[in-house]
């Protein structure tokens, strides 16, 4: 039915199969749409957020997808600035994943603020001392960059490419992509960092507070590093997932292996610095506030096991697997390591957001727990549904894997 829209020389499932494939993701989107409507109409009382958990599931989701979406800027940086030609095979999916993550996060933030109509006050009445302002500015600008990087990919569609002006526009954009990639790298560096800075600067919350360099707490640098360590892994995971569902090889191993190797080095460096950061915090900030490390985990479901998981199971372990050539060359181990790496980063964000707020600072205050409502889950899952939908549509209608034809010749 839609065969004139499909890329040349590749095999795609039937229109009906694609239609049924989109149904679950459309259902997720509908759930999210209903939740969003309720939250905007009735207010944030639809959630289980409270004066204690001012930040909750949505902010965890936001920070998680933005960290995972870092693959876009980092792969772009490696491809266009560092000249890693091999990565041209994976840059397009990386950009699309980045676009999905950032636009999804922006949409969630729009619902998360209590007065969405006043969202523009962040830009108009900007308090430049707030890390969140830096985050908002950079994310907005970077979303523009991602949209610009996405346009030439869309224009490669078979039907669109037939229009001369659009084709030329796409090619011209592609030619100066390095400029956009560089701008994107600058913007991403600062907002990934500021997302970490957001928590490091909360000096009255000893669980999150960190010392740092000039105006940037250590979390600033750690968040940048962790994002570029897990971003490529998330890109690998998404590619593998597409390969699994389409039952084809789409990206040459050399590109995947290069990303995995870079990720391994970055993750190892991150683990070393993160452990140093933990130690510095345990022997510096915590005792200075009159607390001990154990005192944070005395109550509630958030125990030391989260830290152990973050550092050992989801940090050191994937770093070792990815570092050993035999480990990352084995498909199964590679996927496990990528999964663990991404989980570790999400866990790190969770610790900084939910656990920080759950721990009372005043000695006579009590510990509070938090469970999200279906409306909160709905909006979170809607981002996942949106991601699947957009990515599968992009895979179906755009030639996002340049080596697909070469790797899967159609023999008839």
């Amino acid at each position: 039915m839609d065969s004139p829209l499909l890329p040349h020389g590749v095999k795609r499932c039937s229109t009906w199969a694609f239609f049924f494939w989109t149904l679950p993701w459309l259902a997720l989107l509908a759930w999210g749409g209903l939740s969003a409507f309720l939250c905007l109409w009735k207010g944030l009382n639809q959630t289980n957020m409270s004066n204690v958990f001012a930040f909750a599931l949505w902010i965890v989701f936001d920070l998680a997808v933005i960290a995972l979406g870092a693959g876009a800027f980092f792969t772009g940086f490696l491809t266009y600035i560092m000249g890693q030609k091999e990565l041209k095979n994976i840059i397009k999916p990386a950009v699309i994943i980045g676009f999905i993550c950032y636009s999804g996060a922006m949409a969630m933030l729009g619902i998360d603020i209590g007065q969405p109509i006043r969202g523009w006050f962040i830009f108009w009445h900007a308090n430049i001392h707030s890390m969140l302002v830096e985050v908002s500015f950079c994310i907005t600008c970077y979303l523009m960059v991602l949209a610009i990087e996405f346009i030439p990919i869309i224009l490669e569609n078979r039907k669109l490419e037939e229009i001369k002006e659009l084709r030329i526009f796409g090619h011209s954009l592609h030619e100066i992509m390095a400029v956009f990639a560089a701008t994107g790298t600058f913007l991403s560096f600062f907002h990934q960092g500021s997302l970490g800075g957001m928590f490091g600067v909360m000096y009255a919350r000893p669980f999150a507070a960190r010392e740092g360099f000039y105006i940037w707490p250590w979390t600033f640098f750690l968040f940048v590093l962790s994002a570029i360590a897990c971003g490529p892994c998330f890109t690998i995971l998404c590619t593998k997932l597409t390969e699994f569902f389409s039952r084809k090889k789409l990206v040459p191993d050399s590109a995947i292996q290069l990303l995995a190797k870079i990720s391994a080095w970055l993750l190892s460096l991150y683990m070393v610095l993160k452990i140093a950061d933990y130690l510095g915090w345990m022997y510096g900030i915590i005792p200075r506030s009159g607390l001990t490390f154990e005192s944070f985990f005395r109550e509630g479901p958030y125990g030391v096991y989260l830290v152990v998981c973050e550092i050992i199971v989801c940090g050191i372990l994937p770093a070792i697997i990815l570092m050993v050539p035999k480990g990352r060359q084995n498909q199964g181990w590679l996927i496990i390591a990528c999964l663990l790496n991404c989980t570790g980063i999400v866990l790190n964000r969770f610790l900084f957001i939910v656990v920080t707020l759950a721990i009372p600072v005043m000695p006579f205050d009590r510990f509070w727990g938090y469970l999200p409502t279906w409306q909160e889950w709905g909006i979170g899952f809607a981002v996942i549904g949106y991601g699947f939908l957009l990515f599968s549509a992009a895979y179906r209608y755009l030639p996002i894997f340049p080596k697909e034809r070469e790797l899967n010749p159609i023999t008839e």
């Binding site: 958990f53 001012a54 930040f55 007065q115 006050f121 009445h125 890390m131 969140l132 009159g290």
Partner: protein, 275 residues
């Protein structure tokens, strides 16, 4: 960020005598009524109710008959040094006024991102999860005309009854005075406390009672070690109460006992707990 506000003219603050506080909650009621704090039919969800002034019950944790119970009334601390909530606000909706020391909140500019709530260790900031007041119940007739009610989706907090300062200033201006007398401007909770446990005044004015009280060794602040420099002080003769004002590692807390100030007329009983 300019540091501190010692060069400012006034620095309003309060001292709460915990030994006098009976935990009756009048301060909470007076505060809520004075400041048009929104209420709902069911106020049992304590994580989401708005209580600018909130009582925390504390206990020395001992078995009967040695059990002692006290209360920490907790308004906004109006932190004097780099308030954690001010620098994080994205829309510059909250500000430390260097002339009065009051941390203000502009409700019509707040976008409701709640970053300030996350940054405040005292839990003094409250978000409006619901629309301000039950509709069509005629409750708007009970509103204080000087205080704007807040809309859904913004953060609010204790303002040290800033409108009372404005009122006192207007009065002084009409009477051709430049300065306010002590007691001309006090908060609603100060006025309402039946035990007179709250003293309010200008910490920069050595004549004011508060600036004398804060020099007393029994006086302390909440979470002093974090360095927020609150302008709300607490006063207690009991060591276990003072110890609960901050986090201490074992052996770090030094009790205040048997000092010469015990003879001073306004001091209460010296520490009677052993630590």
């Amino acid at each position: 960020m300019k540091k501190g506000n010692d060069h400012g003219k006034h620095k309003y603050g309060m001292v709460i005598d915990i030994d006098k506080c009976t935990g009756c909650g009048t301060c909470m009621v007076a505060c809520a009524a004075e400041n048009n704090v929104s209420v709902r039919a069911d106020q049992s969800d304590k994580e989401r109710t708005i209580t600018w002034m909130r009582l925390y019950k504390i206990s020395n944790g001992k078995e009967f008959p040695h059990t002692e119970v006290s209360y920490f009334p907790r308004p906004c601390m109006h932190c004097d040094h780099h308030p954690p909530c001010v620098s994080v606000c994205v829309a510059t909706a909250t500000k430390l006024d260097f002339n009065t020391g009051i941390v203000s909140q502009i409700y019509t500019r707040c976008i409701g991102c709640r970053y300030c709530q996350a940054a405040c260790p005292y839990g003094a900031r409250y978000f409006n999860w619901w629309d301000a007041f039950p509709q069509d119940k005629g409750m708007d007739r009970y509103l204080t005309p000087e205080v704007s009610p807040r809309m859904r989706g913004v953060v609010e907090k204790c303002t040290f009854c800033h409108h009372r300062l404005m009122r006192a200033k207007t009065l002084a201006y009409a009477e051709d005075r430049r300065e306010l007398e002590e007691g001309e401007y006090v908060t609603a909770c100060t006025e309402a406390c039946p035990a007179q446990a709250i003293t309010f005044g200008d910490l920069n004015n050595p004549e004011h009672e508060v600036s004398k009280l804060i020099k007393h060794p029994f006086t302390f602040r909440l979470l002093e070690r974090i360095g927020t420099e609150p302008k709300v002080y607490y006063h207690s003769s009991r060591d276990w109460v003072r110890k609960l004002g901050d986090n201490f590692l074992p052996g770090e807390y030094t009790p205040v006992v048997n000092k010469t100030w015990a003879e001073e007329e306004w001091s209460t009983k010296p520490g009677r707990d052993e630590f």
